[in-house]
Every structure is written in structure tokens, then in C-alpha cells.
């Protein structure tokens, strides 16, 4: 078939270029590895050894004893002071992240069951502050309830490690970068260097030109995806509670969305520089900020959440997180996969529509 002969000629050309162009290999293979190492080891939202000043205005041994829980914890490093003034100085110099004030009447109030503690947090870093607050409150509740210990537990991320939480986001990010960024760049390069003008005046069809871009970069992105999966499983011991098949399937669908967006961008700009800029702004940045990767979409203002829910990576990320950490939630899988399929059809269709065998 002439169709397949032309297509395979173009695909062969694409792979030859890929093999000889270091920058594509850099984005396709090296970048995922670097990202996964940085994200896995470098970034962590967990709090450990938080310096806390304990103001003991009540000098009784009972009060001191009830604060013991802080000493043994790996989450805190405690500093005991006797006046609020001292604590304030420590806080202002940011030598402590929190002040736990034990009022003079603490012991007597505790007997009556009306004890109160004041917790002051350094709020500049709100994520840390919230975590500290949770830990302290959690721990206090534990003692306060006497013999009935309430053991709080965070579901779906048993160890509450943010690495577990990051890996699905990272996979999403890598598919976005390779799909959108790399594809937009290599297609725009063809426009910019004028290679398409001569190619157009041959029996080649537009669909063949586009497929010859989609297929090789699909392979590159899948390679990055597999790397991430291996790292997740063996390096970070990420559990896979859901179906691996569904994870693969949804990734393939999402990849088509990314490739489609990349082709649309390059067809609209026809310039490498613009393509790179636009890819960054419309795909990479939102994928990082607005999809629930870093900020949970339930805790952001409504309009941000609305924007987030208009972005394809949001659905893919939700899928991945659930599949990895929770398990198969078939309603959600069906819903998100259908949304992604629609996006894929839309963007690839749009790319086909706006790419023309024209040089105007």
C-alpha cells in the first residue's frame, strides 16, 4: 500500500532525526529520570523535626509531664521556655515554627476537664503550619481522651508520604511535556526550516504527515512513562492498588490528548520559539499548578477549580492517583476516560483541520 510506504518512510525519518538530535532524547528520556529523582528525593511536604517552643507558665510537674509527648516524637523538636516573651523572640527570629502555651491554671483546669492550650503557628508557610497544627492537635486529643486513644489515620496514603502523592502527578507531567512540548517543537521546526514546503508537493497526504509525528513521539512518551512506572514501583515502592491495565489504557488516551494539543500549537504558530512558549503556558504550567498536582482542587477558590476542571490533565491525574493509591473506582474510571477520549478526538481533529498543505 502506498499509504503505508509513505508513512513508514516519514516515520523512519523521524526516528533517524530523534536518534541524532540530542535535545529530543534529552526531553524524552533524560528529563523524566531527572524529574523523578528530584521530585522523589528533593521535594517533600512532610514535616519532621519541627522546632516548637513550649511556654510552661504552669510550673507544676503534671503540666510538664503532659507535654512529654512532644519530646518523644520525631515530628517535633521541643524547646522549653518559661515566659511568653522569650517564646515570641524565638518565633520572630523563626527559630521555632510554633508556640504551645501552657497557661498557669493548666493543672487545675485539667483536673476539672476544662484545660486549654494555646497554639500559635508561624503562618508564612501555610502548608507546614497546617501540618504542624494537625500533628499537635492530633497528639493532644490523644492524651486528653485518657485511656481511649483516638488514632487518626490518613487514608490512601498510609505513610502520608508526599512522594506517593507526587509520583502520579509526575507521570502526568512527563506525558504532558513529551506530548505537547516535544511534538509542538519538532513540528514547528519543520515549518520554520521550510522542510514542509518541498514535502507538500509530493503525493504525501496530510494525515500521513501528522501520523508520522504522532507515532514516534507516542513511543518516546511511552518510554518515559515506563521509566516512571519502574521508578515508582521499585525505587519508591509506590503501591498499585488499582488495575495496571487501566493505568496503561488511560495513559495512552491522555497521550493522544497531549500529542493533539502539541500539533495544534505548532500548526497555529509555525515557529519553534512561540511553540515552546505557548506549550509552557498552556500545558506545562497549568498541569503543574491547576490540576491538583500541588494544590488540591477542593481547597482552591471556585473559579480556579473550574479552570482546573476544564483541563484534560486534571482528569488523568485523578485517574492515576485513584488507581495507584486507592483502587478501581469504576464510575470514576468510566467518567474520566470518556472525558479524555472526547478531548483526544477534539484536539487531534482540530490539528487535522487547521494544518493545511499550504504556505501562505
Amino acid at each position: 500500500m502506498k499509504f503505508f510506504r509513505r508513512l513508514s518512510a516519514l516515520i523512519r525519518k523521524e526516528f533517524l532525526q530523534l536518534a541524532r538530535d540530542n535535545s529530543s532524547i534529552l526531553i524524552g528520556a533524560v528529563l523524566p529520570i531527572v524529574l523523578i529523582l528530584i521530585m522523589g528525593y528533593g521535594i517533600s511536604l512532610d514535616v519532621k523535626n519541627v522546632p516548637v517552643a513550649v511556654v510552661l507558665e504552669d510550673f507544676s510537674p503534671a503540666a510538664h509531664d503532659s507535654m512529654n509527648f512532644l519530646d518523644g516524637s520525631k515530628y517535633f523538636s521541643t524547646k522549653y521556655v518559661t515566659s511568653m516573651a522569650e517564646a515570641k523572640i524565638l518565633m520572630r527570629e523563626r527559630k521555632v515554627e510554633a508556640i504551645l502555651r501552657v497557661p498557669p491554671t493548666f493543672s487545675s483546669d485539667f483536673q476539672r476537664g476544662e484545660a486549654k492550650l494555646q497554639l500559635i503557628l508561624y503562618g508564612a508557610d501555610s502548608a507546614t503550619a497546617t501540618s504542624v497544627q494537625n500533628y499537635v492537635e492530633g497528639s493532644i486529643r490523644q492524651i486528653n481522651s485518657g485511656k481511649i486513644a483516638i488514632e487518626s489515620r490518613i487514608w490512601f496514603n498510609d505513610a502520608n508520604s508526599s512522594t506517593f502523592y507526587f509520583i502520579p502527578g509526575l507521570i502526568m507531567l512527563i506525558l504532558t511535556i513529551v506530548g505537547v512540548f516535544l511534538t509542538a517543537l519538532v513540528m514547528a521546526r519543520e515549518w520554520e526550516r521550510g522542510t514542509l514546503e518541498a514535502i507538500f508537493v509530493t503525493p504525501v497526504r496530510l494525515i500521513e504527515i501528522l501520523l508520522a509525528k504522532i507515532i514516534p513521539y507516542f513511543v518516546v512518551a511511552m518510554f518515559g512513562f515506563i521509566l516512571c512506572l519502574i521508578a515508582a514501583k521499585f525505587l519508591y515502592k509506590l503501591p498499585i492498588h488499582g488495575s495496571l491495565t487501566i493505568i496503561l489504557l488511560s495513559s495512552v488516551i491522555y497521550l493522544f490528548v497531549s500529542l493533539g494539543i502539541g500539533l495544534v500549537i505548532s500548526a497555529a504558530t509555525k515557529s519553534q520559539f512561540l511553540s515552546a512558549q505557548i506549550s509552557l503556558i498552556v500545558s506545562f504550567m497549568p498541569a503543574l499548578m491547576l490540576t491538583g498536582f500541588i494544590f488540591d482542587l477542593r481547597s482552591v477558590p471556585n473559579f480556579i477549580s473550574t479552570i482546573g476542571h476544564a483541563l484534560p490533565p486534571t482528569y488523568y491525574l485523578e485517574l492515576l492517583k485513584t488507581l495507584f493509591l486507592a483502587g478501581n473506582n469504576w464510575t470514576m474510571i468510566a467518567e474520566n476516560c470518556s472525558i479524555l477520549v472526547l478531548y483526544a478526538i477534539f484536539f487531534i481533529g482540530l490539528a487535522l483541520k487547521i494544518t493545511k498543505k499550504r504556505v501562505d
Binding site: 525519518k13 521550510g194 503525493p203
Partner: protein, 572 residues
């Protein structure tokens, strides 16, 4: 009729690229489109190949209406765009294989075809070399080979020889002519070179999207019949100055060019040679018209209203002396430049005097650009001595740069700044400011006919304007020496005359000019020139001396150049 256009019009936003174009071309012919840059040649090629849609009018190619049959036409024709987009990270054979696959060339035929093309283009020894590592001439040949992986029903070539040296140019045309003869190809070629158009059966002269004339090369020539003359330059008088004096005499002379010891010119309508001979006190000789003469007359007639170009030129007189100064401003001794094992410039010696126009010529990859860059202080030398304007370039490169102006081959000003902003910026970069700078910019705007365009974005200017702006920017600090790297490629013939008129003016005012060019006839404007190949000097002297040494007095510079380079390559 293989191509037929009726009232074809194409507009881009506000620009009319093709204006009621009527064009016919027969099967099995070699037809040329000639015209200045921006005349609409490329647009027409793209319309034929279905890469852009006409605004109105009819266009049929191979008996098919182009609109709606783009793919059918693209299946049958081959098109070599002006900038043939080779895949630079693929080798020669990979590039050719890709095109052969796309055209569905059968494997049995392919082997024979590739062998033939590679042999003709002289690329057979380099099949494994990456396209990005080829010289300009070789790239064009590979582009042609990719275009011709199969024998097309119609071949479109858009300025296939632009930026290519005379030797490669001749080789490219030999390939084209052989294929036309062997395969009875129909070819439409656009070109800026008249000698190329002369080889075609039919020529269309295009300007501003309109056809000014069509016919055989002889028909075009006959436009200038009886109006072409030449005068011999008086003893010890620069030919360039005489040429400028004639060019300035617009009431009598349409166009003039230097040619050895003579100046060739075209008279205005009703030009009286005897009377004029008395006026300039020099004998005038009538000569046969060339294709270029007819072309220049057609262009001048069409541009009649745009020809009022005001310059602040120093008036030149026939009875004045224009001696070349004895002061030596550039000394080059045993200059060597190596890139690893490769010697780009090998033990080169020459001197340039103040006010001289000195030409650097050579085929692609001869070492011209390397020599040029070392002279400008852009590239350190490996060995030897080099002084520019009395400053040793080995010890004081920065200081030497204050004395020179440099116009790069590509437009290298800021396209999104206006003309005035660019000049202000470069003035600042040269350390000018305040009233000084303002007055200098004022002078240059007049001198380079940029008034009225001060507030236009320089990226939107036509080629000739960009070129003048680049020159103005390089001259802001009144440098002693001006370096120009292929300043005339891609600008139209009329703008080229203006350019050389300005060069004559600058040199008459004492500026030394070093220039590289691919247009061999432009070497005639130089006081002295040097021809390089493989890093060595093959010839050095005045155009006339070189002629005497290597050929005969009547050879064109193009012929001389080819014979010098071929002799050296054959002998070495």
C-alpha cells in the same frame, strides 16, 4: 498548454503579490521568470503547486484547475522551493531515499536513478555525509537531486542558484539542461541571473506582480536594440567614477555598468551618441544589446515614478583626478587560520590602501568568510600578522573595531524596532550621544534615502531599504573601513545600482571598502580584487590585470572566475 493563468490575482492583507497575471507555458519547454525580489515569482510558483490559493482568476496546470485538484497536481509535479528544506540531520542518501519513498519510486528504478543523479551532482563520494555539513552549492545540488528522484511531468525551480558560486551555478544548469534534453521535461524556473534566463526558450519579465513582457530572450533583447553603447575609460581614471558620472546623468542615460576598461551604458529614448560624445569629450562606441539591457529598460520604464532617489552624493567630474592614496590601511602577512586539521586560510598576503574598493571573491567554502571575519576582528587568527587602520589585531582587537563598520550578510538589525530606534541604538553602542548622534542620524537618513520611513518597523521594509539601513547603521561612527559581506544578494538590480553608486561615493570621500560578492560582474566595480580557493590566493590585482593574466580582454568576469578556479583545482 501545461500551465495557463488567466487574470490571476493574489493579495496578502494589503499587498498585491500578483496582479491580473496572464501566463501560458507549453509542454516540453524551458521557461524563465525574471524580475526583482518581491515581484511575485515565488507566489506564482506556490499557486501552481497548490500551496496557496488565488484571490481571483483562473489557473490550470496539466489540464487541471488547481483549486480542488491540489493533491492530483502535487502527485505529478516536482517543486524545488527557493529555500529547499533539506533535513540537515539526515545524510545525503537518507534525504534522497525519503523523497523517493514519498514519490513511490520503485526499487528497481531507484538504484539507476540515484546513481545518475549522484554522478551528475558530483555527490557520489559524500552519500553518508549529513546534509547540514554540506556547502551552499552542494546543498542546492542535493535539493535538486531530491526534487528529481523521479521524472516529473512539470518541474518548478524557484531561484535554484541563489547564493551559489559561479562554478556550482554552471554545474547546476548543466544538470537541468541535460535532464530537459534526456527526459523532455517541462521546466519553469525563476532566476535573478540573466545568463540563466538566456538559456530558456521563453522569458517572462515580472515586476510588482505584473508581467511587463514575455517572449524569447531575443525579443527581450530587442527592447534595447540600438540603445547600448560603451565608452573607454581615460588613462588613470577609475572606471567606477566614470560609470557613476554616466549613471547620474539621468537625462541621457538609463543605466550604466563598469566592464573592464569600459563603461557600458543604455541611452534614453532618442539618445544621440555623437552629441553626447562631444558633451563628455570621450569617444562612444555602439554595441549589441544583451538580455540584461532589455530587462533594465523594462524595469526602468515600470519604475519611472519611483526612481526619484535623493542622495547626498558628492558630485563627480570627468576633469578631476581621483588618485588612489598611498596610505596603506590594511596589512595582511602570512595569515593562517586552522580549524582543527583543516586549514581554512593558508599563508595569505595582501595590502589595501585608503579609499580603495577591494573585492574578496571565491567559490562557496573557499575561505572568504574566514578571511573576512579575521579582518573584522570577529575571529582570532592562528598565525601571521594582521593590522587594520594601523592597529595590530593580535594585540588590540577592540581598538581596531572602533575604526571599522561591518554589514553582515543577513539583515542583523532589530526587526521589531523602527528605523530611527535602530540607528539610535547602534549609535549608542558606538558611544555616540546627544546632538552628535542626532545630527549624524539626520545626515544618514538623507544620504540613504530613509526619510519618511523613520517610524516604520525595520523588519517590514523591502530588501533594498533594509540593505540601506544596515549600511547607515554601520556608518554611524564614520569608520575608516567598511566591511560588506555579500551585501547585494537578494536585492533587485535597480537597488544594486544605487548600492554601488553609494559605495563609489563613500570611497571618493575616503572610506576604504572591503566587499564579498557572488555576482561576478560586480567585481568590475572594485579597484582591486582577490580570488581565493581552498584558503589560497589564486589571483590578486585590478579586474583588468586579472583578465589579462588569465584570459583575454573580452572575457566576462564570470568566465575568468570559472577558468581560474578550474585551472587551480585541475592542476592541484
Amino acid at each position: 498548454m501545461i500551465i495557463s493563468a488567466k487574470n490571476l490575482t493574489k493579495t496578502f492583507k494589503n499587498v498585491v503579490a500578483l496582479d491580473n497575471f496572464n501566463f501560458e507555458m507549453n509542454y516540453g519547454t524551458l521557461t524563465a521568470l525574471i524580475g526583482p525580489d518581491g515581484a511575485g515569482k515565488t507566489t506564482f510558483m506556490r499557486l501552481i503547486s497548490g500551496l496557496t490559493a488565488p484571490t481571483s482568476g483562473n489557473l490550470t496546470v496539466l489540464g487541471l484547475e488547481v483549486c480542488g485538484n491540489e493533491q492530483k497536481i502535487q502527485n505529478k509535479i516536482s517543486y524545488m522551493p527557493q529555500r529547499f528544506g533539506l533535513y540537515e540531520d539526515l545524510t545525503i542518501s537518507e534525504n534522497m531515499t525519503l523523497y523517493a519513498d514519498l514519490h513511490g519510486v520503485k526499487t528497481e528504478i531507484r538504484r539507476e536513478r540515484f546513481a545518475k543523479l549522484l554522478e551528475m551532482t558530483g555527490l557520489e563520494r559524500f552519500t553518508a555525509r549529513l546534509a547540514g555539513k554540506l556547502s551552499g552549492g552542494m546543498k542546492q545540488k542535493l535539493g535538486l537531486a531530491c526534487t528529481l528522484v523521479r521524472s516529473p511531468e512539470l518541474l518548478l525551480l524557484d531561484e535554484p542558484t541563489v547564493g551559489v558560486d559561479p562554478l556550482s551555478r554552471r554545474e547546476l544548469w548543466e544538470i537541468i539542461k541535460k535532464l530537459v534534453a534526456d527526459e523532455n521535461l517541462s521546466v519553469l524556473v525563476s532566476t535573478a541571473y540573466m545568463d540563466e534566463a538566456e538559456m530558456c526558450e521563453k522569458v517572462f519579465v515580472v515586476n510588482h506582480g505584473k508581467i511587463l513582457m514575455s517572449g524569447s530572450p531575443n525579443d527581450i533583447k530587442s527592447v534595447a536594440k540600438g540603445r547600448c553603447f560603451r565608452v573607454k575609460t581615460p588613462e588613470n581614471f577609475p572606471t567606477r567614477i566614470l560609470q557613476s558620472i554616466l549613471l547620474d546623468d539621468k537625462n541621457f542615460v538609463v543605466d550604466s555598468v563598469p566592464e573592464g576598461n569600459f563603461v557600458r551604458f543604455i541611452g534614453q529614448k532618442n539618445f544621440d551618441a555623437e552629441q553626447y560624445s562631444v558633451k563628455i569629450k570621450l569617444p562612444i562606441e555602439k554595441i549589441p544589446a544583451r538580455l540584461e539591457d532589455g530587462f533594465m529598460i523594462l524595469l526602468h520604464d515600470d519604475e519611472k515614478n519611483n526612481l526619484e532617489r535623493v542622495f547626498n552624493l558628492k558630485k563627480l567630474y570627468l576633469d578631476e583626478k581621483y588618485p588612489i592614496s598611498d596610505e596603506i590601511v590594511i596589512v595582511v602577512k602570512n595569515l593562517v587560520r586552522k580549524f582543527g586539521d583543516f586549514t581554512a586560510v593558508d599563508k595569505t598576503n595582501f595590502e589595501v590602501r585608503r579609499g580603495e574598493v577591494f573585492g574578496l571573491l571565491g567559490p562557496n567554502g573557499a575561505g572568504k568568510t574566514t578571511t573576512f571575519r579575521m579582518l573584522c576582528g570577529l575571529l582570532p587568527m592562528t598565525d601571521g600578522f594582521l593590522s587594520v587602520a594601523g592597529v595590530n589585531l593580535r594585540t588590540a582587537r577592540t581598538q581596531a573595531r572602533e575604526n571599522i563598520g561591518y554589514v553582515a550578510q543577513k539583515f542583523s538589525l532589530y526587526g521589531n524596532l523602527t528605523v530611527e530606534e535602530n540607528l539610535n541604538f547602534f549609535g549608542g553602542a558606538y558611544g555616540l550621544s546627544g546632538t552628535n548622534l542626532r545630527e549624524r542620524i539626520d545626515e544618514l537618513l538623507t544620504e540613504f534615502h530613509l526619510r519618511g520611513s523613520e517610524n516604520q518597523n525595520s523588519g517590514d521594509l523591502p530588501g533594498g531599504y533594509k540593505q540601506r539601513l544596515s549600511m547607515a547603521a554601520a556608518l554611524l561612527h564614520k569608520p575608516q573601513i567598511l566591511f560588506l559581506d555579500e551585501p547585494t544578494s537578494g536585492i533587485d538590480p535597480l537597488a544594486r545600482r544605487d548600492f554601488w553608486r553609494q559605495i563609489t561615493d563613500l570611497s571618493a570621500k575616503g572610506t576604504t571598502i572591503i566587499i564579498t560578492t557572488h555576482f561576478m560582474e560586480e567585481a568590475e566595480y572594485c579597484d582591486r580584487m582577490m580570488i581565493q580557493d581552498h584558503g589560497k590566493i589564486l589571483a590578486l590585482g585590478t579586474p583588468q590585470e586579472i583578465r589579462r593574466q588569465f584570459g583575454n580582454e573580452n572575457s566576462t568576469m564570470n568566465e575568468i572566475f570559472i577558468s581560474i578556479v578550474e585551472n587551480s583545482r585541475g592542476g592541484g
